[in-house]
């Protein structure tokens, strides 16, 4: 009798979960079916979004939402390749100095007005206007007439020309392989006429573009509500009715809400919660690592002793065991020993990279004039070296590991933990910081962004230097110039390989790791994969309404009380994505 009752309860539970009843397809296994229209995606940011004016908001959080609100001339496809967006195609002149963008017909803004070439020109000029607090106008300095316009000496940007209502041409002063990448940034995306010709701060809270979603509610620190733009040019898209993007939500709250089914997608789990999900059988295989476009490590100021000595720098780069750095935060941190992330340039065998070689590190210390005897602990660099790390970040953890590893070659670090603004102030001033955390996130997905701003001679300044290592190498400068001007991809790859080799030989940075986020989404959310370039790119996501109802029913019937982590799992037999591989 007892066993019959147990079986009945079990069957009832299975029926409630829709596992084998045919009520709904197994959750997580319907990815090849036709997308369903409808539903509201709910997700959250740990931070607030300061504003949504395309011309001024450039942080990660704002960019994720801007990519849904604004369509640009060009964007990235699912493989991370540049493709036209509101442009129909991209025509490039043979000398690489002239780009023409014929526009799609019938593209409408959220206010219903048609997008024309004049809107594109107005939007670019608005972003680069002298009064606009755009954080990165200098990206566009190679557009003809930029300086005069940006300095307020000209009324229009002469390099941006209208060819009728539906074509725009942009002329450059010199070929620039990164030009299409910077045109893919939301900064220059077309904005509605209500944005005006000149920037005004009020537009940031009522943004209007030509993207698939429009903003209906925006409250700082609370929520951004997006609804589908019914006049979107890509007919039938987007699939979602809307997106509720909660702001300033703590990591643990995100986890609680995700468990309760109140969030459909999360990315900012704490280390502990991330580990919990990865080790819980019900969630194994669900979610993915966001591709990392970041390089982390330590800079060494080449103008200050002892790092004005090339051998000491090389000793540091050889002394760092990168696998050990990764082992303290498995998954999130991966060993990385070159400037450009592997997502952009995957290293083939023999590719120049820094390596861990303790014997070689000791030898470099000897060559540098600071021999160290590990048996007696005698020798090495006689003074303590201050190392700047950032408070409450992995950089602080990494600093402690560097401290232990470098002590083994006679370099003694004294860690100074500071806030981010202080860190920026100190590292950007000449002859101020000897050594410290070095990290760079791709401004846009091109190898150039990992060299020019941070290691080129032209980025050195007495104050506000982005080149924290104050590294100046004519050979590297020449290689980077040639790579930027070249439009031949193979040639550019070869040149960046050369640049990597220079960094290995000169070691202004000891590159060490990349950092990645774990992304999780509910099994009823489909059409989402981490994009190789665009963060949290939920533009093509869709919700399986039937599966969502089943999931909600399962949760409400107390399964969560037995094991809250099995709740989203019911019915799913196979993994959808492997977590074991770690970030790319």
């Amino acid at each position: 009798m007892r066993s019959i009752r147990t079986k009945i309860e079990l069957l009832a539970a299975l029926a409630a979960l829709g596992c084998s009843t045919g009520v709904a397809p197994p959750i997580g296994e319907n990815r090849d079916g036709p997308p369903q229209r409808g539903g509201v995606l709910r997700t959250a940011f740990f931070t607030d979004v300061r504003g949504l004016d395309a011309a001024t908001a450039f942080d990660t959080a704002a960019s994720a939402i801007e990519s849904l609100v604004y369509d640009g001339l060009v964007t990235y496809d699912d493989a991370g390749k540049l493709v036209p967006q509101v442009a129909e195609r991209i025509d490039v002149s043979p000398d690489g100095k002239r780009y023409s963008f014929p526009l799609r017909r019938g593209v409408s803004f959220h206010d219903g007005a048609e997008l024309t070439a004049a809107d594109v020109k107005r939007s670019i000029e608005r972003a680069l206007h002298v009064k606009t607090p755009c954080p990165v106008p200098s990206y566009y300095e190679r557009i003809v007439g930029f300086s005069a316009y940006h300095d307020g000496k000209a009324d229009d940007l002469t390099g941006v020309k209208l060819d009728g209502d539906y074509q725009i041409t942009i002329e450059l002063t010199e070929p620039d392989a990164t030009f299409l990448h910077i045109m893919a940034l939301p900064i220059v995306a077309p904005v509605c006429k209500s944005a005006g010709k000149v920037w005004e701060r009020t537009f940031a809270s009522k943004p209007c573009g030509a993207g698939p979603f429009k903003v209906t509610r925006y409250e700082n620190g609370q929520i951004i509500k997006l609804v589908r733009h019914d006049g979107y040019w890509d007919k039938g898209k987007p699939y979602l009715d809307g997106i509720d993007w909660f702001l300033s939500m703590q990591s643990f709250t995100q986890r609680f809400k995700f468990e309760q089914g109140d969030l459909d997608y999360i990315r900012e789990l704490s280390e502990a919660d991330s580990l919990l999900y990865r080790t819980t059988p019900a969630w194994r295989g669900r979610g993915a690592w966001e591709p990392s476009l970041t390089t982390g490590g330590a800079f060494m100021n080449t103008e200050m002793a002892p790092f004005d000595n090339r051998h000491v720098r090389r000793a540091v780069s050889y002394a760092i065991d990168r696998e050990q750095l990764a082992s303290v935060r498995p998954g999130h941190v991966r060993a990385h020993a070159k400037m450009v992330p592997n997502v952009l340039i995957a290293p083939e065998p023999g590719y120049p990279q820094q390596t861990f070689d303790y014997a070689r590190a000791l030898e470099e210390m000897r060559l540098g004039g600071y021999p160290y005897d590990p048996k007696t602990g005698q020798g090495g660099y006689p003074k303590e070296i201050p190392y700047l790390a950032i408070l409450d970040s992995y950089a602080q953890t990494a600093a402690e590991i560097y401290q232990q590893q470098l002590a083994k070659i006679g370099i003694r670090l004294k860690i100074q933990v500071v806030g981010w603004p202080t860190f920026l102030a100190k590292t950007s001033r000449r002859k101020t910081a000897q050594m410290g955390f070095a990290g760079w996130h791709a401004d846009f997905p091109d190898a150039s962004t990992f060299f020019e701003p941070i290691l080129a001679t032209k980025s050195i300044q007495d104050e506000e230097s982005q080149n924290a290592a104050f590294f100046s190498n004519r050979q590297l400068d020449d290689v980077l110039d040639r790579a930027r001007r070249s439009t031949d991809e193979a040639e550019r790859k070869r040149l960046y390989r050369e640049a990597e080799d220079i960094v290995v030989q000169e070691a202004p940075w000891a590159t060490s790791y990349t950092y990645s986020y774990l992304e999780l989404w509910q099994p009823y959310l489909h059409g989402y994969r981490p994009h190789p370039v665009l963060s949290q790119h939920v533009r093509h996501a869709w919700i399986d309404g039937g599966q969502k109802k089943v999931a909600a029913r399962g949760c409400s019937r107390g399964l969560r009380a037995l094991d809250r982590f099995t709740c989203p799992e019911r019915g799913a037999g196979r993994s959808t994505l492997a977590l074991a591989g770690g970030p790319r």
Binding site: P133, P135, Q222, S248, D262, W420, T422, Q466
Partner: protein
């Protein structure tokens, strides 16, 4: 009397000015660059320099100070600038947030009601719990209830608000689902519902403190002759407690409650972040982390004015109550 009031008023104005000036110079002499924070860590130097110019941060500190103070309070003419807050004939301009690019007066006006709501609820909770628990503990002195209450108050006083907040969130919102995990809500009912957990977080700390205060006060009062007399007259015990002892025990509580308003605001800074409560606390934390100078200054001005005004009113009441002060 008028001379006394005049002196106090001048002293209050001087105090606000001193706080504002001190904050301005501390913020501006730090070796940190708001333009760099605004532009982002990866911004090119030329772009940072332009932002610095746009914000006037390239000017010497004393010039910026002069400009800030001259804008802060200005007389008419009428202006359409939405950054300006009109207070009778005076225009108050706290500037525009560097990062949110909204007028600071608007940000403060929006953040103040949620903070007041949570603060008021917290006050009610801490006084209600504190008075009730204090009386019960005093009545059952040396009993299990007394020791238990005293033990709990020790925990309450020792536990930081971020811990209390997380625990309350876990049990009441996540497990029992009685309250929202976080957020503010749109309707008044939703807002009141959402305010309970942050208010309880803040209130529990105060409640623990007030319990001890009331308990000690009650123990002393219950030994007084007039209590013995009341009991000898055959009054019921609860009447003796409520009418004779508690009324007197609440006097020091009222004094301390007034003084603890600043503490409530301090606690709100952490609590509001945990519960994603859009009040002054959250605004302050964001502004400090992001070095948003105008917002930091706005919050300092707001609170220094409130504290100084409260002190002024207290001084005023002293003068009303104490004739010796009036004659000074």
């Amino acid at each position: 009397m008028l001379a006394y009031l005049g002196r106090r008023l001048l002293w209050s104005l001087f105090t606000v000015w001193a706080v504002v000036t001190l904050t301005f110079f501390i913020y501006n002499v730090l070796p940190e660059d708001p333009a760099r924070v605004i532009a982002g860590p990866q911004a090119r130097p030329a772009d940072v320099a332009r932002i610095r110019t746009q914000l006037g941060l390239d000017q010497p500190v004393h010039v910026r100070y002069g400009r800030y103070m001259s804008n802060l309070v200005r007389p008419p003419p009428e202006t359409k600038d939405d950054a300006v807050w009109k207070l009778g004939p005076v225009r108050i301009d706290l500037g525009v947030s560097y990062l949110k690019r909204k007028p600071v007066t608007q940000l403060l006006a929006k953040a103040l009601p949620p903070t007041l709501l949570v603060g008021f609820l917290a006050l009610v909770i801490e006084v209600a719990i504190g008075a009730a628990a204090g009386v019960l503990a005093a009545m059952k002195r040396h009993g299990v209830l007394d020791y238990g209450t005293v033990g709990l108050t020790l925990v309450g006083i020792s536990a930081p608000t971020f811990l209390t907040g997380l625990l309350l969130q876990h049990f009441f919102a996540r497990e029992l689902k009685l309250f929202p995990l976080d957020g503010y809500g749109q309707t008044s009912a939703e807002q009141l519902h959402s305010a309970f957990l942050p208010a309880l977080t803040l209130g529990l700390y105060g409640a623990a403190y007030y319990t001890r205060l009331v308990r000690d006060e009650m123990i002393t009062l219950l030994k007084e002759d007039y209590i013995r007399t009341a009991r000898a007259k055959g009054q019921r015990e609860w009447l003796v407690i409520v009418r004779h002892a508690l009324r007197n025990a609440l006097m020091p509580l009222v004094t301390v409650v007034g003084l603890s308003m600043g503490g409530l605001v301090g606690g709100a800074i952490v609590t509001e972040k945990i519960f994603r409560w859009p009040g002054i606390g959250s605004l302050s934390v964001d502004a400090i982390v992001e070095r948003d100078g105008p917002v930091i200054m706005g919050v300092v001005i707001l609170f220094s004015t409130v504290v100084v005004a409260a002190n002024f009113l207290v001084d005023l009441s002293y003068a009303v109550l104490d004739p010796r002060i009036r004659k000074r």
